[in-house]
Point group: none
């Protein structure tokens, strides 16, 4: 099988993205994970005087044993008018001790004369010199030909001369870059074919996504004979971003039969994608091809029916090939198959014609009409099934709550207070709490009442709270939908509430969230043999 | 210039996306905006017995004068073994009175035998029959050939026969669909060329993005001669989504020289993209090509330098071509030019160096950091400017409010009550009201207090109320953003509030909404010569 080397630049070009910033520790963690995934190159940054963070990174990576990846340092050709040996940026690259050095140079004459402001001839010497110097230090040298495609369109001969200069300097790789991300596939193919016919050196591709073509252009370049693809996890990068490796890699492996990662590693891809977005502290894009949470999520009733009969009918690849999973979304488009597949997770022995399926289906449809949504609230769906089956344990009984928000003058800060009265195991508890807002106060008062009896509650945290107002322009009563996400540090679960009163909608989602979490804790301790008092309540 | 017809399916396929759900009012608003943008077709939904929402949509669109777009209804071919006239789904399509009907049929033999479970021959008759029936009602018929590309790979002759059946039935358009979104550009080109050589009817393309190729495939199809592109705003759609029209349209217009929208309309694209995500209540994807906030955002120091010297050095197209703008990321989220352009909309004579600009810019920046957003809240921006300029009339002075939500037992309905104390023209008023929820109660109590003095208030109605929770994963205090839309029957205006307490955030947006509306009423009656008491207050 032909191989393609994956060159990851998440830690360099990825950091050019708006909102992406990694500390040195972050970079090391991401690099370890990329090595475990099995990329061939990890570009760690641009070590130079104004970038001490990247200098430190290259110092620290020396002590790590990398199993798959080679570490690459990135930097520009020397400045005009000086010797390569006297260029401090090149000295930083050498001092980084990175086994691979990627040097970028200008391939578009506009940039040479307007941005660098050197002569076209001097630019060629700068490229050759700089590559030769680093090569003389025994490094593997990748030449990134910046703006190559725009340059080729403007002055094809000159663009090719810049590659020749790098080749003369001893470069190991020539990598035409679509730096502005504006090249269409047909043009890219023509130009890559022209390059491939001129050079015997191995070629790479570096594509940006400004016209939405970075992945397509990378794939087409491989079809033109390119052996290295540069890109980033989640497509992070300057402006719109770089070629998304989470899409490039499975396309190459599953559709073109090229090996990019060590055999058996492709199914690590979804987890790596999530990991990098967590380190970047950015929400994971659900709608990413292959690795997004929605990539194999089926909503339409007819689709669901078909995908359960014949998976390939609506899935272009099996989700587990990339470590993702099929999700059947419960919505008002849902049919019986959708509900059945959810229920079978809870009760694997359940048959399609069991009356509980029809009962739950009609209940879910009614509730979705009323404003509930179970797509992101599987915990509430599970509890709804328990309630319908009357297998729901009663952890507490509410006697009432009151929430007060008060503002005492025009510019005063408002205050929020909640009181709650409930019964646990026959004992009546009455608590009060202040919060930043009414829902926060209610949450705190509820926890105050329950924590003594259910200390496991301390491990539960709300991680997200979303509000949506439905059918607001209908003139009929407005319904407010609240989605809460919570975690105990191991699992994350979603719950939903809906009501025309936002406090009541929040209360429903809050209570479901806490009950689901407590059931989980109790089941866990029961299966671990450490029965706790609450266990009696679990069906 | 060659034209390409844009067929928007945001309101149908877009609603198959996880988290996307539109009310009938939402659909109508989006449709009006798409018509203003100038797409050729708006697919509104699938009217049938289990979808009363879409039935209502098609009823209501009949009374609207569409300037550019034709409205299309979507549905499947008849079921097997019955006459087309007896198929209730086809009857719903006809009853919708939509001038365009899009019928989808199966082009992959696997689906025919495994999912539909009819014979290959019967499927062909189903297609022909169904198209012919709708055609006999005088409608324009688009045939969506579901799974065409997978079908062609499995059984090319049969796939082509399904198109022939639609052509025999009288279809006006044949649209091969890459329903699973797994087709690579090279395969797509080969297959589209085969189709184009067989049929004289106009062709379309419907691509899904599961392998990240929906846009590339759409562009390549146009290069093969296709005259209609189906897609959605923001790429919303089943699983990963559909071809993103925000990327397809500028690629076709700016790079391939095809006309898709009426001349001069391309620069409406960014605003439409934002509008649709607002209606869907989903965050706008900053990293969308062309229309995302990051699409022309420059972060790297060298890039910024170059882009200021020579814009085309790092911008593949001028940002204003699509109604977007260049952003130089000096600090974290500097949206300075956005704010300036907003201000100039309100006060066209305003000079860039007027001190009020700097003052308002820094205030807006601080407030956007705190959670306010003025994109959809220009009324609040105008009032903020008045407050800073101290030209804001005092319509009333708040002494305080209290909101109570109470629930008296587990299954009881909660009740919401608000009391409010305020001063109007020296008189203190103290009112109370019950509402469906806390914000409704507050609104009613406020109106009770103000209506006697400001009877114009009776003409103001809140039409939308949206809540968004910001920075939920940051660990710092969560901020709640409330957007309110109101109308007096002539103009619609938006206001914003933000606070960690949702009641306070709602209060801010509510007060702005009422003040803005009253100012409007008073200005109107003043300019009409009918001075009212309140006029003294208007600056």
């Amino acid at each position: 099988m032909k191989t393609v080397k994956i060159y990851d630049t998440t830690l360099r070009d990825g950091c050019q993205a708006e909102q992406v910033a990694f500390s040195v520790e972050d970079k090391l963690r991401v690099a370890r994970r990329l090595d475990d995934l099995g990329v061939a190159y990890i570009e760690g940054g641009w070590p130079n005087a104004s970038n001490p963070r990247d200098q430190e990174f290259f110092q620290r990576v020396r002590d790590i044993d990398w199993t798959q990846a080679k570490i690459a340092a990135f930097g520009s050709t020397r400045r005009g008018g000086i010797k390569a040996e006297d260029d401090s940026n090149l000295q930083y690259l050498i001092a980084s001790e990175a086994p691979v050095v990627t040097i970028f140079g200008k391939s578009w004459d506009l940039h040479v004369t307007e941005v660098l402001r050197v002569s076209r001839a001097e630019n060629l010497v700068m490229i050759e010199d700089s590559v030769a110097l680093v090569k003389s230090e025994g490094r593997e040298v990748v030449f990134d030909a910046e703006h190559f495609f725009d340059g080729y369109k403007a002055a094809p001969e000159y663009a090719l001369q810049t590659l020749s200069a790098a080749a003369r300097g001893g470069a190991d790789w020539l990598v035409p870059c679509d730096t502005n991300g504006g090249t269409l596939p047909d043009d890219l193919r023509d130009i890559m074919e022209a390059v491939a016919s001129e050079f015997d050196l191995p070629l790479g591709i570096h594509a940006h996504d400004d016209n939405g073509m970075a992945v397509a252009n990378s794939i087409i370049a491989v079809q033109c004979g390119v052996e290295q693809v540069q890109g980033t996890i989640n497509g992070y990068g300057e402006r719109v971003g770089n070629a998304n490796l989470g899409t490039v890699i499975p396309n190459l492996e599953l559709k073109l039969g090229r090996q990019c990662l060590p055999k058996g590693n492709l199914n690590k891809l979804t987890a790596v994608s999530h990991y990098v977005s967590e380190i970047a502290n950015l929400p994971h894009n659900d709608r990413q091809p292959y690795v997004g949470a929605s990539a194999f999520a089926h909503k339409g009733g007819m689709h669901v029916d078909a995908v359960l009969k014949t998976p390939e009918s609506f899935e272009h690849v099996p989700p587990d090939a990339v470590g993702n999973e099929r999700r059947i979304l419960v919505s008002d488009y849902a049919g019986r198959s959708t509900v059945l597949s959810k229920l079978q997770k809870l009760w694997p022995q359940l048959q399609r014609d069991d009356p509980v399926v029809a009962k739950l289906l009609s209940e879910v449809k009614q509730r979705e009409y009323d404003g509930y949504a179970y797509e992101a609230a599987e915990a509430s769906l599970e509890l709804l099934a328990q309630r319908l089956q009357q297998t729901m344990p009663e952890l507490f009984k509410l006697h009432g709550f009151r929430v007060i928000v008060e503002k005492r003058e025009e510019d005063a800060e408002p205050c929020a207070e909640a009181t709650i009265q409930l019964e646990v195991n026959g004992a009546t508890l009455h608590t009060a709490a202040e919060g930043t807002g009414p829902v926060n106060a209610l949450d705190l008062a509820l926890r105050k009442a329950l924590t003594e009896k259910y200390p496991a509650l301390r491990q539960l945290h709300l991680t997200d709270y979303k509000v949506r107002v439905l059918d607001t322009t209908r003139g009929t009563a407005t319904s407010v939908q609240v989605l809460i996400e919570a975690t105990d540090g191991e699992e994350v679960w979603g719950t939903v509430g809906a009501h025309e009163n936002i406090i009541e909608a929040s209360w429903q989602a809050l209570v479901d969230s806490i009950i689901y979490g407590l059931q989980r804790q109790m089941n866990k301790s029961r299966s671990g043999g450490n029965a706790e008092p609450g266990n009696d309540y679990i069906a």
